[in-house]
């Protein structure tokens, strides 16, 4: 009876609405993430179009602020976080030798919260006064004064937080309980490790954000004064609480990317990962440090010198485990027998470009210099190097790496390489000049700028449109691969190691019905 029920496969819309299958839910997450990449990307293009020339041409400053704010919220909560959860859903059960996630119904729910949350968030744009315009950081008291779309945003963030925490619980329960016999923790693939640690970060950080936005809500409507100095509150307290969530959030968005790179590089170097154990410990150290460095986002608020020194030293320390990771990736490539299929190109670009973002992060940690960088385009360049060429390009690499396994078809390698080079080149054309803009003194979040910033802004805008349009090719390749193509072998890649490559391509509905044995 139970098995008969298990094998029921509804079709059409019902399949997706009621699915409890980790692969279907993973697909939903990934497609949702892709959709949001385009929604958030379109907003970024509005911003870049306005910034192509000095003067106001296309949008008014209030709408410009809505675009920068929504771009960030959509990309962070809609594209990057759900994207990685999609990878986790598809890969974790296959990598640990389990049939599915541990809590399949909750899995369904954590996905289906998302479309509703984003409907709520995006509908803010059509409310009186427009969408939230105070930046994704929602700093009080600007956010306590905004229109009613701020309330929509707050409720949307609550829903997103619930979704993330449920997803994280599911991942922890799955990884800790459903590993195949013999797979000890220290035998888990690194992608599993990085997600396990990320899940703990999510559970610790998301409720803090929920608390912060709840206080905003009560300040706005119920007469509290948490962030209002006139009532005995403190606007800076909001920033402390926000960044206590916000910095772990940064690592929530990058640790799974570390995991993906750590799967891809050994495969195409045909050589085991150098220093598996130190990679695990480095990930855990980064996760720990992420909770004690939050105030480096707010060095200019007027902290005591002792506080600034503490946060400077703690932040600089993160460079040590991050360096360990980069050195390990390079050492894995060293004396390998490398080939350069699209996933490998993405993984190499990830290591290379993420390190640029890491080094500019180290510069930002130096408090006296940070006073010059804070809230300029230097920061914008920095976090796009870690978030786009870090998180997003790792996901693109991961998509090319596992797409043959997921669909049973090889993608078109020529088009894959075109997509890689277009993305990598236009990304750098877009964001590299922004370092210069920031150093030369251009503040972020401004719709118009002084004349000396014109040239680099033009280069950046041209790059942004190239980068945006190149992603249409990504969609084309994915659709083409889903619909057909050369049959993929089970192992797909010559150097692939791990349980997922022992399954057929595409894998069976319940990944491992019989648990495999690990040597």
């Amino acid at each position: 009876m139970a098995s008969a029920h298990h094998d029921e496969h509804p079709t059409g819309l019902k399949r997706w609405l009621f699915t409890t299958n980790h692969k279907d839910i993973g697909t939903l997450y990934l497609l949702f993430s892709l959709l949001m990449l385009f929604v958030g990307g379109a907003m970024a293009l509005v911003v870049r179009a306005e910034l192509f020339q000095p003067g106001l041409q296309i949008v008014d400053p209030h709408f410009f602020n809505q675009m920068t704010t929504m771009h960030a919220l959509v990309m962070i909560f809609g594209a990057v976080m759900p994207g990685f959860v999609g990878f986790a859903n598809w890969q974790l059960p296959m990598m640990i030798g389990a049939p599915d996630m541990a809590l399949p119904r909750m899995n369904n729910w954590s996905f289906w919260i998302l479309p509703f949350a984003f409907t709520l968030l995006l509908s803010g744009l059509f409310l009186p006064g427009g969408g939230p315009a105070g930046g994704w950081t929602l700093y009080a008291p600007l956010s306590t004064k905004g229109g009613m779309s701020m309330d929509f945003t707050i409720l949307a963030i609550h829903m997103l937080g619930i979704s993330s925490v449920l997803g994280a619980i599911n991942i922890i329960v799955t990884v800790l309980n459903m590993r195949a016999p013999g797979m000890t923790l220290m035998k888990m693939p690194l992608f599993v490790w990085t997600w396990l640690i990320t899940a703990f970060l999510l559970i610790a950080a998301m409720p803090v954000l929920a608390g912060a936005v709840t206080m905003l809500l009560t300040d706005r409507h119920f007469g509290t004064h948490f962030f209002d100095a006139a009532g005995g509150g403190d606007p800076v307290m909001f920033q402390h609480i926000f960044w206590f969530f916000g910095h772990p959030e940064v690592y929530i968005m990058i640790l799974p990317a570390f995991g993906i790179a750590s799967q891809i590089i050994p495969t195409f170097a045909r050589k085991p990962l150098f220093g598996y154990e130190s990679m695990v410990y480095a990930t855990a150290s980064i996760a720990f440090l992420s909770f004690i460095v939050w105030a480096h986002h707010m060095f200019t608020v007027g902290m005591p010198a002792g506080g600034e020194l503490f946060f400077m030293y703690a932040t600089m320390l993160i460079a040590v485990p991050t360096g360990v990771k980069v050195f390990n990736w390079v050492a894995t490539m060293w004396r390998g027998s490398m080939t350069f299929e699209t996933p490998m190109l993405y993984a190499i670009a990830f290591v290379f470009l993420f390190t640029i973002g890491g080094l500019s992060g180290l510069m930002l940690a130096i408090v006296p210099a940070d006073f010059q960088y804070q809230d300029t385009y230097f920061v914008v360049a920095h976090f796009h190097y870690v978030l786009f060429s870090g998180a997003v390009m790792a996901m693109m690499g991961g998509a090319f790496y596992w797409l043959p396994k997921w669909t049973g078809h090889m993608y078109n390698e020529t088009l894959g390489k075109w997509h890689f080079w277009l993305t990598a080149i236009f990304f750098n054309v877009t964001f590299f000049p922004q370092h210069f803009l920031g150093l030369a003194g251009m503040p972020r979040r401004i719709p118009d700028y002084a004349l000396q910033f014109t040239e680099f802004n033009q280069i950046s805008s041209i790059g942004a449109f190239g980068l945006g349009l190149s992603q249409l090719l990504f969609v084309y390749i994915i659709v083409q691969t889903i619909r057909g193509g050369k049959k993929a072998t089970d192992k797909v890649w010559e150097g692939a190691e791990g349980l997922e490559w022992t399954l057929s391509s595409p894998p069976p509905y319940h990944s491992f019905v019989v648990a495999p044995t690990i040597k």
Binding site: G55, P61, H62, N65, G129, Y139, L142, G147, A230, P235, A269, K271, L273, F274, G275, T300, A305, E308, M316, V320, G323, V324, V330, T332, M333, G336, M338, T339, V351, F352, T355, L359, S360, L362, M363, I366, V367, P368, A369, F371, Q372, D375, E413, T414, K417, W418, I425, H435, A440, G441, P443, P447, D448, Y449, A450, L451, T454, E455, F456, G466
Partner: protein
């Protein structure tokens, strides 16, 4: 699979590089007097010089590390590839190597932290006596400067004409970095800034001084500077503070001690003159002229140059019920502010920012401009009575 790389990477790199070169050439040729500023502006204080030194040194260290690590990686990519018949080695795990590449970065970081700490402690020295104290208050979207001992108090707002912003006129040299009345300070003196805000968080930033400090409503932050040379130094608000965040520049004029003393006495005589203004009875034309100027400095950011406002956000002035209704209510609205359910943004209170004469001029202007036909003339004495 390995030869895929050669077959596609070649043309892809070539066409990508060709495209990028094309873009660069186009930009270089179209902008003759291109600025391409790529580093911190020339420092004007010893602190800014130290910051620049730190910035350059740490950047250099980062570049060296980057070149070493990725030199190794690209060598490996070139040499250790399957298409050259390279056979993979099997080594992995080495505690010695791991310890080495944990320890070396740590010591480099200690080397960076020492000079950074020294500079930071010099910057945070707010205990040494200052020669001049200026209180800086951020407002949406202008700065207020108060010289606490000299009893001078004024606002400093963007002076770039809206025609330039809307691309109806050619943009001036200091487009968006010019104000009606700059902050004036003497060179060679320690000037302490007490920084706060009136509404939301702003951030007062002059790159050449190496000073950036958030202006937070309800709290006072401290910072200081000692400028080396005379000149005009320009910066901007650095913290998102609402719609016109991009339009509240900071301009500081550093002058010699003598010129500063002269400037102070000029300010005092101007204050006496403006006190006399509020006593006299004004004609309609005078008020309309003054009101137009005061409107564009104080009201235009929200209510618009043509008085059209912004739907659902800021109410229009053209055809406004307030501008057609009782005079007292209109004056009170400007002085004390209010909030309606219809528009998202509240009207801020201007009582502390504007003189009686300016309020009278603005109210007169709003009631008789933009096609409004209230027809009345408001005197400073009427405003004074409602304060």
């Amino acid at each position: 699979m390995s030869n895929c790389f050669k077959s596609i990477a070649g043309p892809a790199i070539a066409s990508g590089a060709g495209l990028a070169t094309g873009i660069f050439l186009m930009l270089f040729s179209s902008v003759a007097a291109a600025a391409y500023e790529y580093n911190l502006p020339p420092p004007a204080t010893s602190i800014a010089r130290e910051i620049m030194g730190l910035h350059n040194a740490i950047f250099f260290i980062c570049v060296v590390i980057f070149v070493l690590v990725f030199g190794a990686m690209f060598y490996s990519i070139f040499a250790h590839r399957k298409s050259r018949g390279y056979k993979a080695a099997k080594f992995h795990e080495s505690t010695t190597v791991e310890i080495v590449w944990t320890a070396i970065p740590f010591f480099i970081l200690v080397g960076m932290a020492i000079p950074s700490t020294a500079t930071l402690l010099r910057m945070e020295d707010t205990k040494t006596t200052a020669d001049l104290v200026v209180k800086i208050t951020g407002h949406q979207w202008k700065w207020q400067y108060e010289y606490l001992d000299q009893d001078i108090n004024f606002f400093s707002a963007l002076s770039t004409p809206s025609d330039q912003i809307e691309n109806k006129a050619a943009k001036g040299e200091h487009y968006l970095l010019e104000v009606d009345k700059p902050l004036v300070i003497p060179i060679g003196k320690k000037v302490r800034f007490l920084i706060t805000a009136n509404d939301v968080i702003h951030s007062w930033w002059v790159p050449a001084f190496g000073v950036k400090k958030d202006a937070i409503p309800g709290f006072i932050n401290e910072s200081w500077t000692r400028v080396d040379a005379e000149g005009t130094y320009r910066g901007q608000c650095a913290e998102l503070c609402g719609k016109d965040h991009g339009f509240m520049p900071v301009v500081v004029k550093a002058v010699s001690e003598d010129d500063f003393a002269k400037w102070v006495s000029e300010q005092k005589s101007q204050m006496v003159a403006s006190a006399a203004d509020s006593g006299k009875t004004w004609g309609k034309d005078e008020l309309m002229t003054r009101g137009g100027k005061a409107y564009s400095a104080n009201c235009q950011a929200c209510h618009g140059a043509e008085g059209k406002g912004l739907p659902n956000m800021f109410p229009p002035m053209a055809g406004s019920a307030v501008a057609a209704g009782p005079v007292d209510a209109h004056i009170k609205a400007v002085l004390h502010g209010f909030k309606t359910g219809k528009f998202a943004a509240p009207m801020p209170a201007f009582a502390a920012q504007l003189s009686d004469t300016d309020v009278a001029a603005i109210v007169t202007y709003e009631r008789n401009a933009f096609g409004n036909t209230a027809g009345d003339v408001i005197q400073p004495s009427q405003v004074k009575a409602l304060r």
